[in-house]
């Protein structure tokens, strides 16, 4: 099976994610792309770029662009990236280089923190933000630091376990993740969030031990236009565990933003 085929299977939908890259100041930023429609820029968590069936479902109505953050997997680390602002600036430049005039952001784990940092640095083109099991507001890290696969998944039978990373890649990812975790613990960053006008939906898995549902209220109160949702029976890799549930509420929020709390489902059974 080719690696591209594996990604399509992982995504579990007809949407075909192609591998691409964009060069920003000599950093070859890799990304995967599928679908057409309102752009949705996705930022992965500490485990690196991982597409789930939720991405595939979202790509049925969105142009989904999943960036590989420098220091994770295919995009190399760069010593010029030392602060949260450095990462946010680079990622915003990448989005601009892709020609996206308006877009939404979706971030998982530490990618949620980066999505917020990108929106703080450049709020105007951002329509909405979806955070999945976010690690952005203190307390940020799980006890002990390392997130094992038993913490990512309680239902590996639904999606297959992720392949273990080569040791060198895993070590670099852990180092970059650690840098970002430290960067989030910043009063100026948290104070900036209080002024963010972009609507944010944060998803928490009800059996996630890394970012448990008790943290949801921090996100609800730290951001001015903020909604929290509990995704039932999902561990930290919420989008892999409950892809339909994540894609459905994310798509509704991206389309209708704050109005998403009013149902638009059709209740009529037998006309």
């Amino acid at each position: 099976m080719s690696s591209e085929q594996a990604i399509i299977n992982e995504a579990g939908s007809a949407a075909r994610f192609s591998r691409k890259s964009v060069d920003i100041d000599g950093i070859g930023l890799r990304y995967r792309e599928a679908g057409a429609g309102a752009p949705l820029v996705c930022l992965h968590g500490g485990g690196g770029l991982r597409l789930s069936r939720a991405h595939g479902i979202l790509a049925e109505h969105h142009r989904v662009i999943a960036l590989a953050i420098p220091g994770f997997g295919e995009t190399p680390a760069d010593p010029r990236l030392a602060t949260l602002a450095d990462f946010a600036t680079l990622l915003n430049r990448a989005v601009a280089a892709l020609g996206l005039e308006r877009y939404s952001l979706m971030g998982h784990g530490l990618g949620a923190g980066l999505a917020l940092a990108m929106a703080l640095a450049r709020p105007d083109p951002v329509d909405a933000i979806v955070l999945i099991a976010p690690v952005a507001i203190r307390p940020t890290r799980p006890a002990g630091g390392k997130v094992g696969s038993d913490m990512l998944y309680v239902h590996p039978e639904r999606h297959g376990a992720a392949e273990p990373l080569p040791a060198s890649v895993a070590a670099l990812q852990a180092e970059t993740a650690s840098l970002l975790f430290r960067a989030f613990e910043d009063e100026a960053f948290e104070a900036g969030l209080k002024a963010l006008q972009v609507p944010v939906l944060s998803l928490f898995g009800t059996v996630d031990r890394v970012t448990p549902t008790d943290l949801a209220r921090l996100y609800r109160t730290a951001l001015p236009s903020s909604y929290i949702a509990m995704v039932y029976d999902a561990a930290h890799a919420i989008d892999a565990e409950r892809p339909e549930a994540v894609a459905s509420i994310a798509a509704d929020f991206l389309a209708r933003r704050e109005r998403f709390i009013v149902s638009s489902d059709i209740g009529l059974i037998n006309p």
């Binding site: 549902t213 949801a216 209220r217 949702a229 509990m230 995704v231 039932y232 549930a245 994540v246 998403f260």
Partner: protein, 366 residues
């Protein structure tokens, strides 16, 4: 040990004993109103004679129990029952809106000054017809609804719920439960699946319409699961529901009970409609222990045999106390939920009085 008085709010008048749903062609509004008043009076007496809890339950489309919403009955009891806890055992949460259940239970808990005991139930097989819910989804709906109710009680910020069977965009209930973080919660733990779920979620165990032997096996399994999940239930974590009738002599009590068909209907609600019961059974509703579950629901017999099976307490205070001790010794239940032979008029009231004055004080010492 503690005792609860379970009054089913039976309709006192002629009605079919063998069908479900029970047609309303014999229904009398006057009889129904008198039945409700009698129910409230029996609850009031239970409180007056020292019962620790009073209990109501949810059943639909039948005269055996006119409390389709037990939270409404519980709210009516707040000012009738002044002292006892009000046990709502309970709402059938797979067929209901769990947010509404959380709201109503919190409301009654607040109205009652924090006296609510909660039992979250799946309901008997027939209840799945009531609101047109597929019984094959019963257990999964139960488990999800439980988590919604608990989070609705404990999460202070408005939240959406993205479940399998339930989806809500914004939940933030008022009032909150008076008992913080929430009232004690029980569930029916007849089946192995339920025993494990209760243990995993630190819930109490309830056994009803069963035999002492079957309940004892199920309770042993529940305690083993509690051990697996790292905690040890107290006796009060186990409720056992059974019938009760007392009189001045054992012979009189047995004769009274026999005159009303042993204090139980000829056919239980679940078994009255064979099409419903067989369809529900085929859906997987009973779980992996289906034979035991169906057998216990069909268990019928003479009063003497029901005493032997631990399905009813009958006799004088001395006799009943012996029967109570046997249940404590074999099952380890800390709470007995006693279902009255409600249709015996003054004899029913006398039975409540005898239990309250002669048995309860000694039970409390056990």
């Amino acid at each position: 040990m503690k005792a609860a008085l379970f009054v089913t709010s039976r309709y006192a008048g002629p009605a079919s004993q063998t069908e479900w749903p029970v047609p309303c062609d014999t229904y009398s509004t006057e009889r129904a109103e008198r039945s409700m008043q009698r129910t409230l009076e029996q609850f009031r007496m239970g409180d007056e004679f020292g019962f620790d809890w009073v209990t109501c339950a949810e059943h639909h489309f039948a005269p055996m129990s006119m409390t389709p919403n037990p939270m409404v009955m519980a709210a009516a009891l707040v000012n009738v029952v002044k002292r006892a806890k009000i046990a709502i055992l309970g709402p059938d949460i797979p067929i209901l809106n769990p947010v509404r259940v959380a709201e109503e239970l919190a409301m009654v808990d607040t109205l009652s000054g924090g006296r609510v005991i909660v039992g979250l139930m799946r309901g008997s097989a027939n209840e799945y017809v009531t609101y047109n819910i597929n019984p094959s989804e019963s257990r999964a709906r139960f488990e999800e609804a439980f988590h919604i109710i608990k989070m609705a009680w404990t999460e202070p910020q408005p939240f959406a719920w993205q479940g399998r069977y339930f989806e809500f965009r914004s939940i933030c209930i008022w009032p909150r439960p008076q008992q913080q973080p929430h009232p004690p919660i029980y569930m029916s733990t007849a089946s192995p699946e339920a025993g494990e779920f209760a243990a995993k979620n630190h819930l109490g165990a309830g056994f009803a319409f069963t035999t002492l032997q079957i309940a004892t096996q199920a309770a042993r399994r529940y305690r083993e699961y509690c051990g697996v999940y790292g905690w040890e239930p107290t006796p009060e974590h186990v409720i056992y529901r059974l019938g009760m009738h007392m009189a001045e002599s054992d012979e009189q009590a047995i004769e009274d009970l026999t005159s009303v068909g042993g204090g139980q209907p000829a056919v239980g609600l679940s078994m009255r409609n064979k099409a419903v019961e067989s369809a529900v059974a085929a859906s997987g509703y009973y779980g992996r222990d289906i034979e035991t579950q169906r057998a216990r629901l069909q268990s019928r017999g003479e009063v003497a045999s029901r005493i032997e099976k631990g399905q009813v307490l009958v006799g004088t205070p001395e006799t009943v106390l012996k029967q109570v001790k046997r249940i404590r010794d074999e099952l380890g239940a800390g709470v007995l939920d006693l279902s009255l032979a409600a249709q015996l008029g003054d004899k029913t009231l006398r039975s409540i009085e005898l239990f309250g004055t002669k048995v309860l004080p000694r039970m409390h010492e056990l």
